[in-house]
C-alpha cells in the first residue's frame, strides 16, 4: 500500500468529502418531495468494495443515514456474493429495512464503481420517498402490526443492468405508490447524484491514481479509530446505566423498556442493551443495523470531531439481544423507527452524563410527531397534509437549550405555515412557544411548541404518531425533565385525547374543529436551584417560565411582570435546602 504523508492525507480527505457533499447537493436541488428537498432526509457516501464499510460520507446528509448506509451496501454485497453477476453500470435499488436499516420510506440506490475492470468501491444514495404504498398516505401507520401494512418492500434488485435502465422495475415501483410523479422525480435525482459522484471520483482517480486514494481510505479509517479511542480513554472506566420507556407500541398500551449499560474499559466501549423489551406488535421495532446507527449518531453529537467513516465504530462493541425490539426481523413493523432511535440517543446522553457531564446535554424533545390530515375538497380532489413537528433541545454546559429545534437524527426544517395554509384547507390558530415546557435546570431546557390547526373543509381524517406522552425527556446532572407531549382534538362531544397518549388513528374533524399539539421541551442541565434568580426572573418576564413554575421548580419568587423578590427567594431557597 502506498505511503501517504499527513498533509496529502488532509488534502485528500477534503477532496473525498467534497465529492459526497456534491452528491448530497445534487439530490437536494432536484428532488421533488419536500422531505428530501426541504428537510434533507437523504444521504450519500462511498463504501468499501468487500465489507461495505463507510469510506466517506457527505456532511449535509441526514445524520441517521451516516451510520446505516454501510449496512445497506453490505446487503447488496451479500446478494452479489450469493447470486453473482455484478457488472459495471449496474445500479441496485431496494428499501428492505431489515437488511438496510430505517424504514420502508427510505429507498437506497447502490452503484458499484469499477476502475479498469476491477471493483474499486460502491457509491450509494438514500432518500425518503413521499409515499411507498401501505395502509396510510406517507407511511407512518401507527397501528401497523406487519410491514405489509406499511408499504411495499423491495429487496435489492437491479434498476440498471450493465448501464441499461430497467423500465419494468420503475413500473413496479410506480404502481405501488400513491404519488408516482414524486417518486419518479426523486428517483431521477438519486440517479443524478450517483452519476455526479462517479464522474468526480473518476476525475480524482485520474489525477491521484488508485493507490493513493486506497491508501487514503485505509489511513483515514485508522485515524478515525485512533480519534475515537482517544476520547474513550478519557472517560473513567466503569459501567454507566440508563433506562427509559416508550409510551407504548400503538397496539397494546404498555410501556416498553429500553435499557443501556455503557461499559468503558481503557480505549474500548461496550453498548449493552440487555434488559430491553422484546420485539412488539406495533411499529416501534427497529433492525439491529438501525440500532447501531443511532448509537453512532448519539456519539457523534457528543464527540463532534470524529469523522463519518467506519473507523469510529472499531473500538465499540454492541450487545443487542436478538429477541428485543432493537433487533427486529421481517415482517415486524418498523414504520415508527424514529421514536425508538430518539430514545436510544437520549439513553446514550443520560448514561454518558455520569462519565463525562462536561460533554453532554439534557435530552431533546424526543419525538417526531408525524401528523397527517387528509380529505377531499368540494371538487373531489384529494389532499394530504403530512408533517413532522419540533420541540426543545436540552440545556447544556454552556447555556440554555435551543427553543423549537429539529430532532437530533435529522437536520430537517419545518414548512412555513403559510405554505401549508396555501396548499391545504386548514388554518393555524396558533404557532407558538410553549411556556413551562423546558426542563428546569441550572441551564434550562429549550421550549417546545404549540400548534393548533383548524379544518376549513367539510370534513377530514387525521392521525398522529408521536411519543413522550407518558415519559418526559430527561435532564442530566440533576436537571429536570421537559414537559410531556400532549395532543387533543375537538369533536362534537368536546375535546378528546388519544387513548394511547400520542398515537392515534381515526380522528374525524368537521369544519371549524381543530387538533392541538403541544410538544415537549428539552431536559435541563444541572440543578434548577443552582440557576441564578435573575435568570429565572428574566424567563418569567419573557414568558418562557410562569411565576408559579419559577416558585415550584426554581424556588424563586417572581411576580407576573418578572420582578424578583430577593428576600423571599433567599428564604425559599434556604428552606428548600433543608
Amino acid at each position: 500500500m502506498a505511503e501517504l504523508d499527513p498533509v496529502t492525507l488532509a488534502v485528500l480527505q477534503g477532496r473525498l468529502e467534497g465529492i459526497v457533499d456534491e452528491m448530497d447537493a445534487t439530490l437536494f436541488r432536484s428532488a421533488f418531495n419536500p422531505i428530501i428537498a426541504e428537510a434533507h432526509d437523504a444521504s450519500h457516501g462511498l463504501y468499501h468494495p468487500e465489507t461495505g464499510e463507510t469510506l466517506a460520507q457527505g456532511r449535509s446528509g441526514l445524520p441517521i443515514f451516516v451510520g446505516v448506509m454501510a449496512f445497506a451496501v453490505k446487503a447488496v454485497i451479500d446478494k452479489v456474493a450469493a447470486d453473482g453477476g455484478l457488472e459495471d453500470g449496474d445500479v441496485f435499488i431496494f428499501n428492505d429495512p431489515y437488511e438496510g436499516g430505517t424504514h420502508l420510506s427510505d429507498f437506497k440506490l447502490v452503484r458499484p464503481f469499477f476502475r479498469d475492470g476491477r471493483l474499486f468501491c460502491y457509491l450509494a444514495s438514500v432518500g425518503h420517498w413521499h409515499d411507498v404504498g401501505g395502509n396510510v398516505p406517507g407511511n407512518y401507520n401507527p397501528v401497523a402490526t406487519e410491514s405489509f401494512q406499511e408499504g411495499m418492500l423491495i429487496p435489492p434488485v437491479k434498476l440498471y443492468a450493465a448501464g441499461v435502465f430497467r423500465r419494468d422495475v420503475l413500473d413496479i415501483l410506480s404502481a405501488n405508490s400513491r404519488l408516482p410523479g414524486s417518486l419518479y422525480g426523486d428517483l431521477n435525482g438519486q440517479i443524478n447524484a450517483l452519476e455526479i459522484g462517479a464522474r468526480r471520483l473518476g476525475g480524482l482517480l485520474d489525477e491521484q491514481g488508485e493507490a493513493r486514494i486506497e491508501a487514503a481510505f485505509h489511513e483515514l479509517k485508522a485515524r478515525a479509530g485512533r480519534l475515537m479511542r482517544s476520547y474513550i480513554a478519557e472517560l473513567p472506566d466503569g459501567t454507566y446505566r440508563a433506562e427509559d420507556w416508550l409510551d407504548n407500541d400503538g397496539i397494546r398500551d404498555e410501556p416498553l423498556r429500553i435499557a443501556l449499560a455503557i461499559g468503558i474499559a481503557g480505549e474500548e466501549m461496550t453498548l449493552d442493551f440487555t434488559g430491553t423489551a422484546a420485539a412488539c406488535a406495533g411499529p416501534v421495532n427497529i433492525s439491529r443495523s438501525t440500532a447501531i446507527a443511532s448509537c453512532y449518531v448519539a456519539l457523534k453529537h457528543v464527540f463532534r470531531e470524529v469523522p463519518a467513516n467506519a473507523g469510529v465504530l472499531a473500538p465499540i462493541r454492541f450487545e443487542i439481544p436478538e429477541t428485543s425490539l432493537l433487533s427486529a426481523g421481517a415482517p415486524k413493523p418498523v414504520g415508527g423507527y424514529t421514536e425508538t432511535i430518539l430514545r436510544i440517543i437520549d439513553l446514550v446522553f443520560v448514561a454518558l452524563a455520569q462519565a463525562a457531564p462536561e460533554r453532554v446535554n439534557g435530552c431533546a424533545y424526543g419525538t417526531i410527531n408525524a401528523l397527517s390530515m387528509a380529505g377531499h375538497r368540494a371538487d373531489g380532489r384529494r389532499w394530504v397534509l403530512f408533517s413532522f413537528f419540533g420541540g426543545g433541545h436540552g440545556g447544556h454546559p454552556e447555556g440554555d437549550g435551543l427553543n423549537h429545534g429539529n430532532a437530533p437524527i435529522s437536520t430537517a426544517t419545518i414548512p412555513p405555515l403559510e405554505i401549508l395554509e396555501a396548499a391545504y384547507p386548514v388554518r393555524f390558530r396558533q404557532w407558538a412557544l410553549r411556556p413551562d415546557s423546558g426542563g428546569p435546570g441550572r441551564n434550562r431546557g429549550g421550549l417546545g411548541a404549540v400548534y393548533e390547526i383548524e379544518l376549513l373543509e367539510e370534513d377530514c381524517e387525521a392521525f398522529l404518531f408521536g411519543e413522550r406522552g407518558r415519559f418526559a425527556p430527561p435532564g442530566v446532572e440533576g436537571g429536570g425533565p421537559g414537559a410531556l407531549n400532549r395532543f387533543e382534538w375537538e369533536n362534537d362531544a368536546g375535546p378528546r385525547t388519544p387513548d394511547m397518549a400520542s398515537k392515534t388513528v381515526d380522528i374525524r374533524l368537521r369544519r371549524g374543529q381543530a387538533v392541538r399539539l403541544e410538544t415537549p421541551g428539552g431536559g435541563g442541565y444541572g440543578r434548577a436551584r443552582a440557576r441564578a434568580p435573575a435568570a429565572v426572573a428574566e424567563d418569567v418576564r419573557l414568558g418562557y417560565v410562569t411565576a408559579e413554575a419559577a416558585r415550584r421548580d426554581y424556588a424563586c419568587v417572581v411576580d407576573g411582570e418578572g420582578r424578583l423578590d430577593d428576600a423571599a427567594t433567599a428564604a425559599l431557597r434556604a428552606e428548600a435546602e433543608l
Partner: protein, 683 residues
C-alpha cells in the same frame, strides 16, 4: 462639481477611491476607521484624497454599520405587532439548529419576546379577511411598545402577502402614534409567501433602522459642514446603489454592502481587462469569501443568514464563505490530521507574529516563516513581525505532532489552507457545471494575493488577475455600481389560466414605482432598464427556478401572456436540469422586478501606471519555495511599467498587499495596471 468618491468603511481601515471625471484622474486613500462614529473617518478620508467637499458631486458608500449591528446584536430596541397566535414565529425560525453535529446551540432573537405583541386580525391564504384588524388594539400595542422603550416597530401579519389590507391599516394606525419614521411594514419590505423569512427580514429592518438612520444622519451632517452639496448613495447587498433616504427606509438591504461593492468592482475591472468569467476571492482574517461572475454578471442568492436564525431574504450577491483566513489557526487533531480553522485568531490578537498574546500558529504565521511576507515592513502599517515566535509556534503545534521540521510544517499549513480554499472555488465553479479553464481568479482585500498562484493550479483556473489596488477594491466598486431598486410580489397560482392582466398590471406598476424611486434620487444616469423574473416550479416541487422574462413596458403594457411565460419556464428548466417533465402542471410563485439605473462608466485605463518605473527588483530575499530556500527577487509592484513580465518565483510588494508569483508562473502587467498571473509559456 465633477468628482465621485467611493468610500468603503471596514473594521480597521476606511478606504477611499476618488474619480475626477473632468481631469480623468484617480486618487486612492486609506485612513483608520473612526470609532464609534465612523463618519469622522469618512470625512478625514475624503480630505486625505485632496478633494474639497464642495467639488464632490457624489459620495457612494459601502457600509458595514448594518452588518456589525446584526453580528454584535447591537441593533435598536425594536418591537413587533403581529397576528394573534403568532408572536413566536421569529423565535421558532424554521425549526433548525446551528450545527448538524452537537446540540449546544442557542438563539437570541433580534426582537425579544416581551416586545412582540399580538392583535386580533386574520387573513387566510386565499386573501379573505377572516377577522378585520382591531385598530384600537393596534394603537394600544404601539403605545405599550413605546412605554417599554421601543425605538422602532415592525408590523407583520400572517398571509399579508396574499392581502395586505389589515397590515396596511395597522401600519397606518401605528404611524399615527409613533413619534418617528421607524415603522416597518413587513409585506412592504418583502411581499412574498413564507412567514418566517418575511418576518425576519422585516424585523431586522426595524432593528437596524434607528442605527443606520443615526449614522447616515451624522454622516450627512459632517459632509454638509464640509461644504458637500451632492448626492450621498449607499451600496446595497445586491451590488446596486440607492439614495441615502432609501437606505434609511430599507437598512436591511445594506447587510452585505461592503463585499458586494468589491464584487462589482472586480466584475468591472476584469471585464475591461478582457475577462467576462471571474471568481473573486477575499481572504480576510477569519474567512475566505468567494463569488462567481459569469459573462459579466455576478451570481445572486435570494437570501442569506447573517448569523444563525438571522435570515434576510432580498436578492444579494452570492458570497460563499469558508473559515480559512490569515488568522485561521492550524492544529493537529487527535487522529493526527492537520486542520486549518475554524478557530481563528482574527486580527486581534491576530497571528503569533503580531505578538499580541496569541500563541497558536496561523496561516499568516506560515507565510511569514516562509519569507513570503516581509517581516520588516508588513502591510497595514504594523511594526515588524516576530518571526521567531511564529517559528516556535509552528514547530510546537504542527511540526512536532506530525514529525516534520519547522519549514516542512509551515509549508504543510499553507498547502492544507490552499486545499480548503480550492474546495470553495470548486464549489462555485466545477460543481455548478462551469469549466474552470474559462475563469480568472481575482483576489481583493489584502490576503488573497499570496495564495492565488497555488489556487489556480489546484483548481485548474486559467489565470489570476490581481487588480492594481486590491485593498481598495470595494471603494472602487462604489464608484462603478449602478442604481437599483428591487420588488417582489407573490402570485402563487397555476400557469394554466393565469390571470395575465393582473400579472401585467403588477409588472407595469412595479416598473413605474422603481423608475420614480430612481428619479427621486436625482442622480445622473445613462439609462434605465426594467428586469422581470418569475419564480416557478412544477406542481409538487419545493424549490423554484428563476425564469427571466425578456419584456419591456410599452403603451399597452408588457404584452406578457401565458405562452410567453410557459416558453420562458421551459427554457430555464431545461437549462437547469437538462430535461422537461412534460405533462406536469406548472405553478407561478413570485414576480420579481428590479429597475436598474445605469451610472456613467469610468475607464479603468485611468488606473494604469502613469510613468515608466523600473522593472528591476528592489532586493533579493530568501523565500521557502518547493522545499528549499531560494533567493527570490522582490519588486515594488506599483512601479512596474505596463508590459513588464516577472517570472516566478517572485514577490511583489505594495502598501495594501503582497503578491507571490509561484515558480512556474509568470506575472504580466497589463494595460490597466493589473497583474495577470498564469503558467509560464513553454519555451
Amino acid at each position: 462639481m465633477s468628482a465621485i468618491i467611493g468610500v468603503d468603511v471596514g473594521g480597521t481601515f476606511t478606504d477611499l477611491f476618488l474619480l475626477d471625471e473632468a481631469s480623468g484622474t484617480t486618487t486612492v486613500a486609506k485612513v483608520p476607521t473612526s470609532r464609534p462614529d465612523q463618519s469622522q473617518g469618512v470625512v478625514e478620508g475624503i480630505a486625505a484624497t485632496g478633494a474639497a467637499l464642495g467639488d464632490v458631486a457624489t459620495v457612494v458608500h459601502g457600509t458595514t454599520v448594518g452588518t456589525n449591528a446584526l453580528l454584535e446584536r447591537k441593533g435598536a430596541r425594536a418591537g413587533l405587532i403581529t397576528t394573534a397566535g403568532f408572536r413566536d414565529v421569529l423565535e421558532m425560525r424554521r425549526r433548525d439548529r446551528p450545527e448538524t453535529w452537537g446540540l449546544w446551540g442557542g438563539f437570541v432573537p433580534a426582537i425579544p419576546r416581551d416586545l412582540r405583541l399580538e392583535v386580533a386580525e386574520r387573513v387566510l391564504a386565499d386573501g379573505t379577511v377572516a377577522t378585520p384588524v382591531d385598530l384600537d388594539a393596534v394603537r394600544a400595542a404601539a403605545r405599550e411598545l413605546l412605554a417599554r422603550g421601543a425605538e422602532a416597530v415592525c408590523v407583520f401579519f400572517v398571509n399579508a402577502y396574499a392581502n395586505d389590507e389589515n397590515e396596511r391599516l395597522a401600519a397606518d394606525a401605528v404611524a399615527e402614534v409613533w413619534p418617528n419614521a421607524h415603522v416597518t411594514r413587513a409585506s412592504r419590505i418583502l411581499n412574498e409567501i413564507r412567514e418566517f423569512e418575511r418576518g425576519s427580514t422585516a424585523a431586522l429592518n426595524a432593528y437596524l433602522q434607528p442605527v443606520l438612520g443615526r449614522y447616515l444622519e451624522s454622516l450627512g451632517q459632517a459632509l454638509e459642514q464640509g461644504g458637500f452639496g451632492g448626492e450621498l448613495l449607499i451600496v446595497q447587498s445586491n451590488g446596486g446603489v440607492m439614495a441615502a433616504a432609501e437606505a434609511r427606509r430599507l437598512p436591511v438591504r445594506t447587510a452585505l454592502s461592503g463585499p458586494a461593492a468589491g464584487v462589482i468592482a472586480a466584475t468591472h475591472i476584469a471585464r475591461a481587462a478582457g475577462f467576462e468569467n471571474v471568481i473573486t476571492c477575499d481572504m480576510g482574517g477569519t474567512s475566505f469569501d468567494v463569488s462567481l461572475v459569469v459573462e459579466g454578471a455576478s451570481a445572486e442568492a435570494p437570501q442569506t443568514e447573517i448569523d444563525f436564525g438571522l435570515v434576510i431574504r432580498s436578492p444579494m450577491i452570492e458570497i460563499t464563505t469558508i473559515s480559512a483566513g490569515g488568522g485561521s489557526i492550524a492544529r493537529v487533531d487527535r487522529g493526527g490530521i492537520l486542520r486549518i480553522g475554524p478557530d481563528s485568531a482574527g486580527s486581534d490578537p491576530g497571528p503569533v507574529c503580531y505578538a499580541q498574546g496569541n500563541d497558536k500558529p496561523t496561516v499568516t504565521d506560515a507565510n511569514v516563516v516562509m519569507g513570503r511576507i516581509n517581516a520588516d515592513q508588513p502591510i497595514g502599517g504594523r511594526a515588524s513581525l516576530d518571526v521567531a515566535a511564529a517559528r516556535r509556534a509552528i514547530e510546537r503545534e504542527v511540526g512536532e505532532p506530525l514529525g516534520l521540521d519547522v519549514m516542512a510544517a509551515a509549508e504543510a499549513i499553507v498547502r492544507v489552507a490552499n486545499a480548503s480554499m480550492a474546495g470553495a472555488l470548486r464549489l462555485v465553479s466545477v460543481e455548478r457545471g462551469h469549466d474552470p479553464k474559462d475563469f480568472a481568479l481575482m483576489p481583493f482585500g489584502g490576503g488573497g494575493a499570496l495564495h492565488v498562484g497555488a489556487l489556480i493550479d489546484e483548481v485548474g483556473l486559467a489565470r489570476a488577475l490581481v487588480p492594481r489596488y486590491p485593498g481598495i477594491t470595494s471603494a472602487l466598486g462604489c464608484v462603478v455600481a449602478d442604481m437599483r431598486v428591487d420588488y417582489v410580489s407573490s402570485l402563487v397560482a397555476p400557469l394554466d389560466g393565469l390571470d395575465v392582466a393582473r400579472l401585467d398590471g403588477e409588472m407595469v406598476a412595479l416598473s413605474k414605482r422603481g423608475r420614480a424611486a430612481l428619479a427621486r434620487a436625482g442622480v445622473a444616469l445613462d439609462g434605465v432598464e426594467d428586469h422581470f423574473q418569475l419564480d416557478m416550479l412544477y406542481q409538487g416541487q419545493t424549490h423554484t427556478i428563476a425564469v427571466p422574462l425578456d419584456l419591456t413596458v410599452g403603451d399597452a403594457g408588457t404584452g406578457v401572456d401565458e405562452n410567453i411565460v410557459r416558453t420562458a419556464f421551459e427554457a430555464a428548466y431545461e437549462r437547469a436540469y437538462g430535461r422537461l417533465l412534460s405533462g406536469l402542471p406548472i405553478r407561478v410563485m413570485n414576480l420579481r422586478v428590479w429597475v436598474v439605473g445605469r451610472r456613467p462608466r469610468f475607464d479603468p485605463k485611468l488606473l494604469a501606471p502613469a510613468g515608466l518605473g523600473g522593472a528591476e527588483p528592489l532586493a533579493l530575499r530568501p523565500v521557502w519555495v518547493g522545499g528549499g530556500w531560494t533567493e527570490t527577487p522582490v519588486f515594488d509592484r506599483l512601479a512596474l511599467p505596463v508590459g513588464t513580465r516577472i517570472p516566478g518565483p517572485a514577490v511583489l510588494e505594495q502598501a495594501d498587499t503582497t503578491i507571490f508569483v509561484e515558480a512556474g508562473h509568470e506575472g504580466r502587467v497589463d494595460g490597466f495596471g493589473n497583474l495577470v498571473v498564469a503558467a509560464k509559456e513553454a519555451p
